[in-house]
Amino acid sequence: MTRLLKCSLACFIALTASGTVHAAAPVDAAFFEREVRPILQAHCFDCHGEDQAKNKLRLDTSVGILRGGESGEPLLVKGLSAESYLIKRVTSQNLKEVMPPKGKKLTAEQVGVLRAWIDAGAKVPGEAAAAASLRLKTDHWSFQPVKRPAVAQRGGEIDALVLAKLRAQGLTPSPAADRATLIRRVYLVMHGMPPTPQEVSEFVNDARPDAYARLVDRVLASPRYGERWARHWMDVVRYADSNGFETNRERKTAFHYRDYLIASLNADKPYDRFIKEQIAGDALGVDAATGFLVAGPHDIVKSPDINLTLMQRQDELADMVNTTGTAFLGLTMGCARCHNHKFDPILQRDYYAMQAVFAGVNHGERQLREKSEAHAQPALAALKTEEAALQKTLSALQEKAAASPATTTAAKSRPAVSALFNEEQFAPTEATAVKFTILASSGGQPCLDELEIYNDAGLNVALAAKGAKASASGTLPGYAIHKLEHLNDGQVGNARSWISDSGTGWVQIDFPTKARIQRIVWSRDREGKFSDRLATQYRIEAAVQPGQWHPIASSEDRQPRGAKPEGDAWLARLSAADATAARKAQADLVELKARMAKASVNGWAGRFSSQPERTHRLYRGEPMQKREVVAPDALTVLGTLGLAVEEPEQNRRVRLAEWIASAENPLTARVLVNRLWQYTFGTGLVDTPSDFGANGTRPTHPELLDWLADEFVQCGWSIKHMQRLILLSATFQQSSTPRADAAKVDADGRLLWRFPPRRLEAEAIRDSMLAVSGALDLKMGGPGFYLMEVVVENVMHYFPKEKFSPAEFRRMVYQFRIRQTTDSVFGSLDCPDGGSVMPKRSRSNTPLQALNLFNSSFITQQADFLAQRLRAEAGEAPEAQVALAFRLFYGRPPDAFEHRSSVAMIREHGGPSFARALFNTSEFLFVF
């Protein structure tokens, strides 16, 4: 650059900065036309103009300039050219970034013009109109307000709206299904299990005009209903009982959320309340409901590498944002993590605004206050205080015991090691380093929560804060709470401890300067919660010169750990009164802990930070590429919550939940009624149930969807009310028999000219098998049952069970569902593992399914049970057994052909073979 140019540019900028751009060139829209546009035209329009708008950026129109590109970067920050992406790109020194990528770069003078223009407010022609047109809006159908169509037939709206579509295609509906088919359909759809023969015959013979309405009421009132429909919701929110990723540990208390779902659905909890509880249940007295937020996979392997840790956290938050978006709003928010959404009116900024709502949410277990005995709540706080006091008393007494001279001089005179507190005293010795070598532990890799080394002035010289350095043979990887730096951080307790990476190990403290030491105190968990991993055999050495160790203490002269884990030997060193006090304190502590455990029920649910870190928009979603701070908010296109950047954590979620659960939100009700439709008819009116955006499909019956959505809100968000309407419709009650003429027009039956038959889901098939075999255990709630053998290691391993006992004969919603595993029988039936949200299941048909349903030990066992049941209930005659079996399986008697061939089957090959066959029949595995 020539000196002259440098000078003129400097002058130009100086002028701009002072805000007094030379009078000849007022920086207004005319300035843009005269000075700026020619530059853009010459250098930018080829790629960012009318012909092609790379990265969706157009610089040839005012709208395009104000909008910027799809990266989400602010092209112009009015008044701040240095912050403007446009300037960053045209001045970049990085050859991959600098714009234009080919051809002549902008001269300094041209850049100066752009800067001056931006610094003076970046005026463009027709700015007001352009800005107005840019105010994010959309004409996409699902963002428009719900419009209840006027329907003449009151009470028959669903049928009227379905019929209108059928007629438009020249189609007619099918006649009503017979009662036996209908009751079986209602039970399979609503309960996921067939009706009993008695229930069938009662309904078939019920002559009252409202027999069917009564049936629907009965079905909706049954607890089996909540079990069935909770399972659907668990697909939508990627529920599972393990963490996923490589360690895939169990979440033994996640079931509280599952039980919450079942209870809520059975109680017909209003859906708006249901939403609010799942997002912010901690504010509504339902902690368990927040299991929703943390039901997804979660990587617990952490690395010292900060990039990875930050990315893991971003992935966790993305899981929450995405699941909230898809489950409640039918919006794929996750697509806007790296750039503005390519199809929907969702800005990248919106994604981070919603991320800010969840910024304080963490995975883990928490106390479920509603389940922890209500009256015990205040008491629990008191118990904690009491516990601390007792602990203090005990520690004082232990110190006293340690300080008192030994009563015997026997070799093993010192008390056994204690998890709580151990002291080593020795003649003052000079040292620059102390090494603590653990030769054996009470079990597992040894743990130290703190190692204190006192000099002759009584100061702890091991503290990192005093310049001491800790090293170790190795540290158990992957745990933030177990780190080497915790050894000498002055903080005690398991959560601030070091654990070796093997069954033995050493730690070493190097002092900054030579010290004269005489006492060492160490412990495994001074908070008294853990007593495993205790160093039982050890030696402690000191050195002045590196490597020249000499012993100063060891476990040699300690008594072995006795039957009583903490050992009472130390009590002998106390006065009688003190010993009594210590014994009492110990006993009180045991009793207190039992009381505390009883008062507290823990569950896998949201854990909330009091004040989360600020959320930034991340350029391309990269954690290290922080951009502007983003306040918690909802979607720009649908309004704003008006929250502050520092909004209290809980309020963020409360406000988002209220916004989602509002009658004005155009998406919420539509998405839910569509799910109800989908799980009833097999396909939703919108067949992309968690994507109501532009990339999803449009509803087959938009008026019907809106009618249902409006009715849902009007009735007070009652799910059962909506289901009653659907079940009572003639549309639902149609026969499923195919008609060639109609199939020609609408093969999939999306227009509902019949009830579309479909294969049942894995859970419904297993539940139905157990129901008909008589093995089913209807115990509700509580910890799930395992279909896997578990091998516990750092990384968990799961192997499919081959033998099943009654504990596993509960409904499959109570299965302990483990990510990355598929059940050996039912996995092949498209049973999801909770690895990702599954709003719509595939319905595969494979030979493996046939093999599993034909040969697995589960099936042969159930076949035996069924054969026994048939004999027990119908007697030895094959004819009677066949009659009962058909009623159990299909809710109807066999026809003559079926009867004949079935009886022959039992006669020739026995009851179990007959039973094995029935489990494999299409009529049993499908709903018709």
Partner: protein
């Protein structure tokens, strides 16, 4: 300017002397690329029926050999004289470097010497001499880079293109795209190591969000396919009669639902299952293999735990060859397992004592894998089978501080391809002078996946499945076919 000339790939091609035919192919593909996503049309009645490729394929099927635990590139295929020269010195520029398990010690040369192998003179270490002898068959990629240094996500990434759980594996994508050419065997078979499953096993051969029809079926030479055999409680005659009876009831029921393809498909799936009950045990039964074959693979060895293990893995290798022979579309063969011991005990995760652990793993993996490759070649199967050898990431050229092993390193690692459609005796890309970071022709796992799909005649940018709002791809929104490795 011709649009083709915009493509940096084109320049790479002209530099390597690309012929006119390949150019025509590229033009044909460009015409394709202009179009939208391709969702294979799957007939629910026969989900594994063969389906058309997007363009002519070079490989009909894939054998993927996955070594679990992260094989060290600097102890096997990535020869670094500078590492040997600077053995025991700190790695320049690595002060304060923190990797997965923590701080780094000094550069450490491999305990195994490297020697030139074959015509190509490729330097391969003495840890894998049998594989080294086949270096002329291999097409090495030395510049692979990953996104994570943790095993689970790393294995997810190599298996599914995503570090997260819940995505379909490459084999599932392949069977979804292409179906199978053998209707009596599964389209996609995973052969777990005799020691157990790798980390994230479910994701390795899982269907993710694809229909369960496309998941891998797992069995090996010792663990038969689950639920394949007739239950002991039923005689063969009863079993047959029961199956017939199911057919009778289902066909009788179908009369009430004429033309229902889902119901008809169920009936045929039982017939297919019956055929599988014959064909799977047959293909898994390697007792018919002659002695010289068992010897070639090392399947006849025994006498100590390592040899037993080697023989068991060798039997899996023979099974892999038999499946390839039968036209199974995607065979995934595993070496190493987390299940019976992580941190290098049963897998390649040599953090603390690399030499003794790798001695064992090398012994187990080398000869059988080499025999598999040689056997495929000898039978002409490499003509239309792509062999892929890979691992989740690489290892450090340094030893961990205070230990005698190497920490995780996703910044530069090695995989090799062999067989249909790829160059042989060829090396692509390079790491720096120590083998730490890829510096030349840096390739991502996305590129690796894109290349494998390309060899199968599939455009990775178009093969898609709609899930939850997104047209999902194996390669997400990334990936470029590594044209330079294509023959």
């Amino acid at each position: 300017m011709h649009p083709l000339l915009n493509r940096r790939n084109f320049l790479a091609h002209t530099a390597t002397g690309l012929g006119g035919i390949a150019l025509a192919q590229m033009l044909a593909r460009d015409a394709h690329a202009a179009a939208g996503p391709i969702r294979p049309q799957v007939n629910p009645a026969n989900p594994n029926a063969p389906r058309a490729t997007h363009f002519p394929a070079r490989a009909k099927r894939v054998l993927m050999i996955f070594c679990s635990g992260a094989v060290s590139q600097v102890d096997t295929f990535d020869y670094k004289p500078e590492l040997i020269k600077r053995h025991g010195q700190p790695m320049p520029g690595a002060e304060g470097l923190v990797t997965f398990q923590g701080a780094q010690g000094n550069l450490n040369q491999s305990p195994w010497a490297f020697r030139p192998r074959g015509q190509s003179g490729k330097m391969v270490s003495d840890l894998v001499p049998h594989l080294g002898a086949l270096a002329d068959e291999m097409c090495f990629i030395h510049s692979l880079t990953g996104k994570t240094n943790t095993h689970g996500p790393g294995e997810n990434f190599m298996a599914t293109g995503y570090t997260l759980d819940g995505f379909p594996s490459m084999g599932a994508w392949t069977s979804y795209a292409l179906g199978s050419e053998n209707d009596t065997l599964p389209a996609y078979v995973a052969i777990p190591d005799p020691r157990g499953a790798p980390q994230s096993a479910g994701n390795f051969w899982g269907p993710g969000f694809l229909p369960a029809a496309f998941q891998g079926t797992d069995f090996n030479a010792t663990q038969p396919l689950r639920n394949l055999a007739r239950p002991a409680a039923f005689s063969a005659a009863t079993d047959r009669a029961t199956r017939d009876f199911i057919g009778v009831l289902n066909r009788h029921h179908l009369e009430r639902f004429p033309g229902d393809s889902e119901l008809a498909a169920r009936i045929s799936s039982y017939e297919l299952a019956a055929r599988m009950q014959l064909s799977v045990p047959e293909v898994a039964d390697i007792s018919s293999e002659p002695a010289h074959v068992l010897k070639l693979y090392g399947a006849d060895q025994a006498g100590n735990p390592v040899k037993d293990l080697k023989a068991a893995y060798a039997r899996n290798c023979i099974l892999a060859r038999r499946l390839v022979e039968k036209g199974v579309r995607f065979v995934q063969l595993f070496n190493g397992a987390y299940q019976t011991g992580g941190e290098g005990v049963s897998n390649w995760d040599g953090h603390k004592s690399l030499q003794p652990q790798y001695l064992k793993h090398g012994e187990v993996m080398d000869q059988p894998t080499a025999a598999l490759l040689a056997d495929l070649k000898q039978r002409g199967l490499l003509e239309d089978t792509l062999v892929v050898w890979c691992t989740e990431f690489g290892r450090m050229p340094t030893f961990q501080k205070g230990a005698s092993g190497r920490d995780h390193n996703p910044n530069g690692f090695t995989a090799w391809l062999a067989g249909a459609g790829v160059k042989h005796g060829f090396s692509y890309g390079a790491t720096d002078e120590f083998g730490y970071k890829a510096v030349e022709n840096i390739a991502t796992v996305y590129d690796f996946h894109a290349t494998i799909l390309d060899l199968l005649g599939l455009d990775h940018e178009r093969l898609s499945f709609y899930h939850n709002g997104i047209e999902r791809r194996l390669t997400d929104v990334h990936g470029h076919v590594i044209q330079a490795v294509l023959a």
